[in-house]
Symmetry: C2
Subunit: 463 residues, 2 copies
């Protein structure tokens, strides 16, 4: 028996209040928990989180680590107690779920003290996030080999740096976490080397834009070693030896930042359908292949607004938004999500690097006939001091004339500018239509022809 | 006889090269001239400009005036000689057009030396711009009463400030030129008072946002006197007395910045149809009521993308874009413009103030049923130092659910963020759709939920 009483917003299943169990208390999980309680205080919300932290700015960790005077706990938005007392959420930290039984509608696992637990659910949300990709090499488990995913990882790195004996860091990987952390290390006076197996620095970026970022790193004393695969890491007792085929490095700390993979193991094991990159396949209502189980956040896939196909792009905004949508859907309101554009931005030293949509390679893979073009314009108007170059690569589809994506690099005016293209992508806008948009102009903020419009006008000529 | 030979792109009329005459050598005029020559070098392009400056950043003047060390001519993008020699444009400065004869297809006027001139045209572009609104009061013609529209005005103000005896300025008006200039005066050590007849400071802005701007001015020592009409200005020989009904001011310089009006007199006199606010009515191809005459820039009207009705919003980007479109249309390529969203931004002291689309009052006037809401969020993520408040007022239509407009005020992250809404307005996006857009996030640049998304999410609740 399933009764939805919309007037009083009480959901009763078999005569009892509905039980909504959430695995994972990060962005998606806590967004869902709080919103479900707001939508309907009668729902019993149980959150099972394996760590002891919920509701913190994970993306803020590199910036916090960069500053020895800032406490790591400044990143905590709400402490677990607040959710328990104020929101009446049954939030259980130190609870690691190990299995789901979709037939019996139960989850089970162990607490950090080793106690077994089990919970029944009416609706379940899997919000297990993603975990760092680790190379399977000897020495990966050494204590000075670290990752940065949750707040405990951040504390561990910061504590280690605080000991003052860290002179050299080796970062494995050159993605955006790696780049944010190279700046954090550098700010802490630590010499940084970066190494990765792939030969191309920032392969998702147009080569001319990637070169701008690479130069900025070199200018800041970062040494880059693309094209080297690490074979093993050894500890001498006083430092680490990182051994590749053809080269070896010494470091006091190794940060592994080779990307993340979805935490979908327990979902897969209980028969839930997995999709792209082993993420949990969900429909537009965030429902998995099991009608009582939802998935949201970095563990789940999404539709891409440009391709209308499934993609796996783990980003914080999507996690929060998906958490809200699941809360709506379990509390009697139907909310579907339209999809992601893959919009992202990061800061590295004085540069802002942003993208939205597809690059040329992704566009070809998705069946488009892409044309791309790069322009370099200025961040301020003619005659305005302080102007800096803005580099933009824009991609459009030769057949339909639609914009497919954009990438931008510059010292100012990049981070928020990219959003104009993101909105265009959500609307399937033609390049010609975008080139006619009425964007803001004032001399301190850009040229009369906004850099994005110049990029569009130049790309039109190649279509 | 009118022959269009597309292959060789030669346009011949009555056996001769087409004559394209342009009145006004500012943004729209010079954009049209240069592009027409690029599209087809055989077109004879004649530009008649009454001043001696073309192609300069007029919007940059307040920032240039603020800095005594910067030469005013740094704002000049290209000198007249470049257009004549490089682009083969017949550019005639010091040529003031006084009349058009559409039947004879001629324009006539006088040079600055008093010589009469006349030119035949096949196609004519009126790009006469706008001129400052001046109150009809005694003393308005005193030499210390100045305006800021063209480069000579800028030079005049800067030269006067350079004399070093300017201690007090009175600005009549409180629009964006007035606000940019109050900062310029302040930076030059001049005490600024601002006065205007209307009682409401920045009436186009939501009152709570206007208050933020007002406080910033007061914090910077600017005195505001709204609700006072100036009766006359008198010179004592050593300073100016500015006399209102109930109050009077003393100043060394008066800047009149009460807004602008379209320079449409010669168009109206020859029978060309005028439209809203006496601007020259043009179709989407920038054609006036005379089939051989186009108008572009601040003298012409435009379609608004939100209302799909005519509006008169003089802005630099539109002027440049319209100039290009006219060049296309006279050189054999059909280009129509979709319309403006009224997107604008200005800087005043540490604040960025931006808008796009309609405010509530404009929305009511256009027949919508608007709902608006203000939010204050932050410019950076939780735990990120340097975060500043961002104030956003968003308006949507209760009936259709469409976004109608946005206004934003803040110390960072305003100028380019507004463009995301501008693009949404061009697409007639529903508020709910906009609230689902995938905008960029990184801690130095904003919260996970971009301020625009928070504004949209809160406004949805009121729809």
């Amino acid at each position: 028996m399933f009764i939805l009483t919309f007037e009083r917003q009480i959901i009763i299943i078999n005569g009892e209040a509905m039980k909504f169990v959430i695995i994972g208390g990060d962005a998606a999980g806590m967004s869902a928990a709080s919103r479900a309680k707001r939508r309907n205080p009668d729902i019993e919300v149980i959150v099972l989180e394996q760590t002891h932290d919920v509701s913190y700015s994970a993306c803020g960790m590199p910036y916090n680590i960069a500053d020895p005077l800032r406490d790591m706990d400044l990143l905590v938005v709400r402490k677990p107690g607040v959710f328990i007392e104020k929101n009446k959420i049954n939030l259980l930290t130190g609870h690691r779920v190990t299995a789901i039984d979709p037939k019996a509608k139960t989850v089970m696992g162990n607490t950090h003290k080793g106690q077994f637990f089990t919970f029944d659910y009416d609706k379940l949300l899997i919000a297990t996030g993603a975990s760092p990709v680790l190379p399977e090499i000897p020495g990966i488990d050494l204590p000075e080999v670290m990752v940065l995913k949750n707040l405990d990882h951040g504390r561990q790195i910061k504590d280690y740096l605080g000991k003052g004996n860290v002179k050299k860091a080796l970062i494995i990987g050159m993605g955006y976490i790696a780049l944010e952390m190279c700046e954090a290390f550098e700010k802490r006076g630590v010499k940084v080397r970066m190494v990765k197996p792939g030969r191309v620095f920032l392969p998702w970026l147009s080569p001319d834009l990637a070169e701008v970022v690479q130069k900025e790193l070199i200018l800041n004393g970062i040494e880059l070693y693309p094209g080297h695969t690490i074979k093993r890491i050894e500890s001498t007792g006083s430092f680490l030896d990182i051994i590749c085929d053809d080269v070896s490095f010494q470091a006091d700390i190794v940060l592994v930042a080779m990307g993340v993979k979805p935490c979908s193991r327990i979902a897969g094991q209980c028969g839930i359908k997995l999709g792209i990159s082993n993420s949990i396949a969900v429909d537009r209502f965030l429902k998995t292949s099991d009608k009582n189980i939802y998935a949201a956040g970095d563990c789940a896939d999404a539709y891409h607004v440009v391709t209308d196909k499934k993609c796996w792009i783990p980003l914080a905004l999507r996690a929060n938004r998906a958490g809200w949508a699941v809360a709506d859907n379990v509390s009697g309101r139907q909310t579907s999500l339209r999809g992601v554009a893959g919009t992202s931005v990061f800061k590295v030293f004085s540069l802002e690097v942003a993208r939205s949509g597809l690059n040329s390679k992704e566009a070809v893979d998705a069946g488009f006939d892409p044309v791309d073009n790069s322009v370099t314009t200025r961040s301020r108007a003619h005659g305005q001091p302080g102007s800096e170059p803005i580099h933009i690569n824009m991609t459009a589809d030769r057949k339909s004339g639609s914009i497919l994506g954009v990438q931008m690099v510059g010292k100012e005016g990049v981070a928020h500018r990219v959003n104009a293209v993101a909105v265009a992508l959500h609307n399937g806008m033609k390049l010609e239509e975008f080139s006619q948009t009425d964007l803001a102009y004032a001399p301190p903020f850009g040229p009369v022809w906004d850099p994005l419009l110049t990029a569009a006008n130049q790309l039109i000529k190649k279509l």
